[in-house]
């Protein structure tokens, strides 16, 4: 009741998703009467579960949208002898499943249909690895990354012929979708690796907030936003590319650092995310600015300095998720980042940045790439079509 009265009083009499936003606004601008916390939580939760992201369209979903809170990256290996016809059958089947599940409708033959009804902004994005193209008798448009000096890659987190990026604001929705899609992929391919990750939960921060990683850093401030996404991410045919890197955080040694050292490594204030040359998160870094001791405010070796890209067409869209596995007996965490970036071209956009970071980035002392995979992301499809039809059809 309280929430409803406040919504009406605040003039936020809007339908659907607007209700949750309205409730949040009232909570912060209320006129001295605090809304009942429980009722407000209810309002947020109800819209979170039923929210959907359209699956059909010229571009795949799960890329330009604000990332949902939970993700599973599932990579598969095709057995020898897989041909183009089998790949087309597989993609028809998986497309049908995803078209249903993203609407909150069970897949055909879904043995746990009750788990399908709350999509919670579910998206499933398909990526094709170099091996899928070779199996289809086609030249791969992407190639494995060169080996970087900093890499300590493990095969159990690397490579893959097919990738499913499953994202939703609820982990049970992700789990059920993963189960359903693995069941339908099994006749065609073996699971190669699964990486599960998370970001802040819905309602915890504004949707456009910058993610924090497990090192406590703001992560994604320099991402293209809004209209900046198009020239960086999308090819004219609606395709793009995806790099997935598993990056272990060396938490035990990171913990030893003083805050100033941590900030120098990344080039941003931990709390505000502001560049060391500025005061606000979105301030443009000023590489000419000197600090009190006459040294550049933005250290030459900092992550932000090294990763800097100004040409909008050369930016990458980072869409990372944190991971946090079980600590070992000594209490050392198994934590890090599932780095995922979307860009038109891996060689034109991602590689130059990664090469600069691998050459010199103080942050490398506390992060270790342990997995790496690249995928072409085919265009989306219309209703009745299937993902990959332009490639395999």
């Amino acid at each position: 009741m309280t929430t409803r009265r406040h919504l009406l009083a605040g003039g936020a009499a809007v339908a659907g998703l607007g209700v949750a936003a309205g409730a949040a606004v009232v909570a912060t601008t209320g006129r001295g009467v605090a809304p009942a916390p429980v009722a407000e939580a209810d309002a947020v939760a109800l819209t979170t579960g039923t929210a959907t992201v359209p699956f059909h369209g010229p571009r795949q979903a799960g890329i330009a949208e604000d990332p949902p809170a939970h993700a599973a990256f599932v990579a598969f290996t095709l057995p020898g002898g897989t041909d183009r016809r089998a790949l087309a059958r597989m993609m028809r089947l998986l497309t049908d499943d995803v078209a249903r599940l993203t609407r909150g409708v069970p897949a055909l033959g879904d043995t746990d249909a009750t788990l399908a009804v709350l999509p919670a902004r579910l998206t499933v994005t398909f990526g094709f690895g170099p091996g899928l193209y070779r199996a289809a008798g086609l030249k791969p448009p992407i190639a494995d990354l060169p080996k970087f000096r900093i890499d300590r890659l493990e095969s159990r987190w690397s490579g893959g012929d097919l990738l499913l990026q499953i994202c939703a604001d609820d982990p049970l929705t992700v789990a059920h979708t993963q189960r359903m899609l693995i069941k339908d992929t099994r006749p065609f391919a073996a699971v190669r690796w699964v990486q599960q990750g998370f970001r802040r939960s819905p309602g915890v921060q504004a949707p456009e907030h910058t993610q924090r990683n497990v090192l406590g850093q703001m992560d994604g401030t320099a991402n293209p936003r809004g209209a900046e996404i198009d020239p960086a991410v999308w090819n004219p045919d609606g395709s793009t590319t995806l790099v997935v890197r598993r990056i272990r955080a060396e938490m035990e040694t990171w913990d030893i650092l003083a805050v100033a050292d941590k900030e120098n490594a990344v080039g941003r204030r931990l709390e505000s995310g502001a560049p060391l040359s500025g005061t606000h998160e979105r301030d443009e870094p000023d590489f000419a600015k000197l600090d009190d001791s006459g040294l550049p405010a933005m250290p030459d070796f900092s992550h932000v300095t090294r990763a800097r890209v100004t040409d909008p067409k050369l930016k990458i869209l980072r869409r990372p998720y944190n991971y946090d596995g079980a600590p070992n007996a000594a209490g050392h965490p198994d934590s890090g980042l599932i780095f995922a970036s979307y860009q038109r071209s891996i060689t034109e956009q991602y590689l130059p940045i990664q090469q600069r970071l691998a050459e010199k980035d103080l942050l490398n002392e506390w992060i270790t790439p342990i997995g790496s995979a690249v995928f072409a992301v085919p265009p989306g499809c219309a209703e009745g079509g299937w993902i990959g039809e332009q490639v395999l059809g």
Partner: protein, 186 residues
Amino acid sequence: MRNTLIAVAALAVLGLTGCAKSDDTTTAAGGTPAPAPSATAAAGTLTIKDPWVKASAAGTMTAAFGTLVNDTGADITITGAESPASPLELHEMAMKDGKMVMQPKEGGFVIKSKGTHELSPGGDHLMLMKPKEAIEPGDEITFTLKLADGSTVPFSAIAKPFAGAEESYAPGEHGASGMPMGSMAP
């Protein structure tokens, strides 16, 4: 008792597909999902929503499922079904000597006026008695339903890998040797 349980389970499996949009319905107009209910449906016949078939090896029995929808003003009886993929029978699951068995459905499937009829694992289904070739996951299999008034309803169903709720299809029990028809008679 067991019968009831299985019926309830079958509803739980397919009952929610009712949320699917109308354009999931395959109509008599063609094998592919139509963007909207077609003129055929409006003219008054049967449609099948969310059709699928369990993938299977050549010669191994399998089944097709979906939701039969009768939007007409009269009851419709399905008396038989055909497919280029396999000889077909209309089957139901029934309790016999304390065990659930499948058996041919006496009198066919009756779909009440303005009603629906679920074909589901553990319930009524279209039985593919002996597929000529393997039915691979992702294959599109075409079917024709034969109605009591002599008309037919074609549709196509996508093949899915499926392992649930079908203990009576276990290889060895009714496998490649074929089902002993005598034991299935009511």
